[in-house]
């Protein structure tokens, strides 16, 4: 493995990270829209939510990737594997994030809902001032868990020819037959990315803790 191979792997790692970050951002947005459906007063919406979770979460990402890629291709002809890849990860992460957020909502103690009611707060204010900030705190650790998974799940996209860290590693291996060293370098790159997310999360957590938040009081 030459230094130029290392440089190629670094670029591929950057693409992996970008794919993951884009999907995390979009997936979070989609999840924010999905979670309220789980608490909707209409059965149909709740059923729709559950169906989405079951289908998307119950399908291997690999299969989901192939499915979305070929389905989109048959609709629109050729499609960028990168766009398809972000879309697949977005759908997948949205299902996981939505469940993480739902858990956060369920963790809000009932008496706090009573307080909101007795203060006569409108629904939107409750959502904005009480529910969102509390869910953000309760859901942070499991949310980061999913983010770390997202980085690793991006490797699956190599199957639809997204040129990212895993695919680049395989190309180099095929050329150099230097299996172990290339894979070790790739693993180190994945580790660095996941570790960075973890550190970022810890920092956020301690910042929230400094702002007086201790979730277990109540």
């Amino acid at each position: 493995m030459t230094p130029s191979d290392l440089w190629v792997l670094a670029q591929a790692a950057a693409i992996s990270l970008l794919m993951a970050l884009a999907s995390i951002a979009l997936g979070t947005l989609l999840a924010v829209l999905l979670t309220p459906l789980a608490f909707a007063p209409w059965t149909l919406l709740r059923a729709g939510y559950r169906l989405y979770i079951f289908v998307v979460r119950g399908t291997p990402v690999l299969l989901l990737a192939l499915l979305v890629f070929y389905a989109l291709a048959s609709f629109w002809g050729r499609i960028s594997p990168y766009a398809a890849g972000v879309m697949v990860l977005t759908f997948y992460l949205a299902a996981l994030f939505a469940e993480v957020f739902r858990g956060g909502v369920l963790a809000i103690p009932r008496p706090l809902w009573d307080c909101c009611k007795s203060l006569g707060l409108p629904r939107l204010s409750i959502l904005r001032r009480v529910v969102s900030p509390l869910v953000a705190r309760y859901a942070l650790p499991p949310y980061l868990n999913v983010c770390v998974m997202a980085v690793k799940a991006s490797s699956v996209l190599s199957i639809i020819s997204v040129w990212e860290l895993t695919l680049a590693s395989r190309e180099i291996i095929e050329r150099t037959l230097d299996v172990y060293r290339v894979l070790a370098v790739a693993a180190v790159f994945y580790f660095i990315m996941c570790f960075a997310i973890d550190r970022l999360g810890r920092q956020l957590e301690s910042r929230l803790a400094a702002r007086g938040f201790a979730g277990e009081r109540l």
Partner: protein, 252 residues
């Protein structure tokens, strides 16, 4: 001022409140006492409509609350959410477990209702909140988070939060029960100062001496009904109801 008529409430087929009638005058302080499970807390929650009730009527200054008066035929209907919010704001409630919003400072906790419930400007809400927190002796702790406050301090913030809506009635649900004994006095002192201001209060309590001191009337609940009601001297010193005599003997 508050007229409660024939309130009934069941949980899973068990009737907790079996026809409660109670009138509370302006500025009157009524203490609810009774064994645990007798329905005192449920009654208090029904008054603020945190719990819906199966039958009966609650009026505040002549206005029927929570449910629209039923037309000649047909079932009663709840008021829309907006009206319920407005009606709830005429009462303040303080809970046993303080229930402050953990992600907000004392000041933010108290501001929340006036700002977003009553739609006051941030400045007006803050002036009011500062004033109230000063009154409950927490002028120094405005920017502390609940986790940084003692139980007694948290409960005083909760009282300020309830008062911030300028309610006509304050509902107090065993507000000193969760406190360490040495912190009870500071919360009771705050309530004592409120009695001078003529705000009506309904308090659920097990602290008999405190109830005797501040309440105009004491109501003893048993089996979902008011078994005895009257001035403290009568109810506590010359109880007529057999169950009440037993109850008072046990807690002494």
């Amino acid at each position: 001022m508050i007229e409660i008529r024939g309130i009934r409430k069941s949980f899973a087929g068990v009737e907790i409140l079996r026809g409660i009638d109670l009138s509370i005058g302006a500025g009157e302080i009524v203490a609810l006492i009774g064994r645990s499970g007798c329905g005192k807390t449920t009654l208090l929650r029904c008054i603020n409509f945190l719990e819906d009730y199966d039958a009966g009527e609650i009026k505040l200054d002549g206005e029927v609350l929570w449910y629209r008066p039923p037309p000649q035929t047909g079932a009663r209907r709840r008021y829309p959410e907006k009206d319920l919010a407005r009606q709830r704001q005429r009462m303040g409630i303080v809970f046993q477990q303080y229930n402050l919003f953990p992600h907000m400072t004392a000041l933010e906790n108290v501001c929340l209702g006036p700002r977003f419930g009553q739609k006051l400007s941030a400045e007006v809400a803050e002036v009011r909140a500062r004033e109230l927190l000063t009154r409950v002796g927490l002028a120094e702790r405005l920017n502390s988070y609940p986790a940084q406050l003692s139980g007694g301090q948290q409960q005083r913030v909760a009282i300020a939060r309830a008062l911030a809506m300028k309610p006509q009635v304050l509902l107090l649900d065993e507000i000193t029960s969760a406190l360490d004994p040495e912190l009870v006095a500071e919360v009771e002192d705050v309530i004592r100062t409120l009695t001078q201001e003529g705000i009506a209060m309904v308090l659920v309590t097990h602290a008999m001496s405190f109830a005797r001191e501040i309440a105009h009337r004491i109501a003893y609940l048993a089996d979902g009904q008011i078994a005895e009601i009257g001035p403290p001297q009568e109810v506590l010193d010359r109880p007529r109801d057999k169950g009440l005599r037993e109850f008072l003997r046990r807690i002494r």
